[in-house]
Symmetry: C2
Subunit: 127 residues, 2 copies
């Protein structure tokens, strides 16, 4: 039933102050931390309507993740009951606030990703 894989093409990258995995926040996000989401030029039409002040869910890949991880916290917890980035499909989500839009560059606050992490989607948060 799950024998077909699916190809994700990143739409851009996120720039953050966190250059090493050890630098990224482990618990919670500092809403003031500034970063930038930079999409490839071809995706510019997809940003129509996004403006300063909007909240946006950024889906990104933890591309340094150990995708073989199924247990965490010394084996006591299954990864699917946690938010660990180390998991079979390391797709993470961070809700950011848009400060400014300039073409395909979004200045945002509230980042917690490793610098240069691939971005795979942006979407409006659930109401």
């Amino acid at each position: 039933m799950t024998d077909h894989s699916f190809e994700i093409d990143p739409i851009g990258v996120v720039r953050t102050p966190f250059e090493r995995p050890a630098d990224t926040p482990k618990q919670g996000v500092n809403e003031a931390t500034e970063g930038e989401v930079v999409l490839s030029r071809e995706y510019e039409p997809g940003l129509e309507g996004l403006t300063s002040g909007d909240s946006i869910d950024v889906l990104w890949l933890a591309d340094d993740a150990d995708r073989s991880t199924l247990r965490v916290r010394d084996g006591e917890r299954g990864v699917f009951s946690t938010r660990s980035p180390h998991r079979p499909n390391p797709i993470c989500r961070t809700t950011c606030r848009v400060r400014a839009v300039d073409g395909t560059r979004l200045a945002v606050t509230g980042v917690d990703m490793l610098d240069e992490s691939p971005v795979v989607d942006l979407k409006a948060p659930m109401r």
Copy 2:
């Protein structure tokens, strides 16, 4: 910068009452709608610690999506400012409640996915 693609291997499927795209809820989720998340056997260790009553974010693929869509609502909105399933990387998220766990079968409520949609991740909701 975004020239490498990334392979996602579904970890299971979700069973829901919605057999055709037109049946799926367009706005909001009925929290009472029952479904089942069925993971492949190999992922059972990842479920350790998940119990009845837990909320869980289900990441799934809208595999009938039109991945070329960048504008929606008659071209007025960019897809990244919406939650439309038609988008370049159609990874969707639904927060469900676990009713029971039996091996790699999770009985859940709050589903809104098309029946048999591939599941790519489960994680604890953000606090």
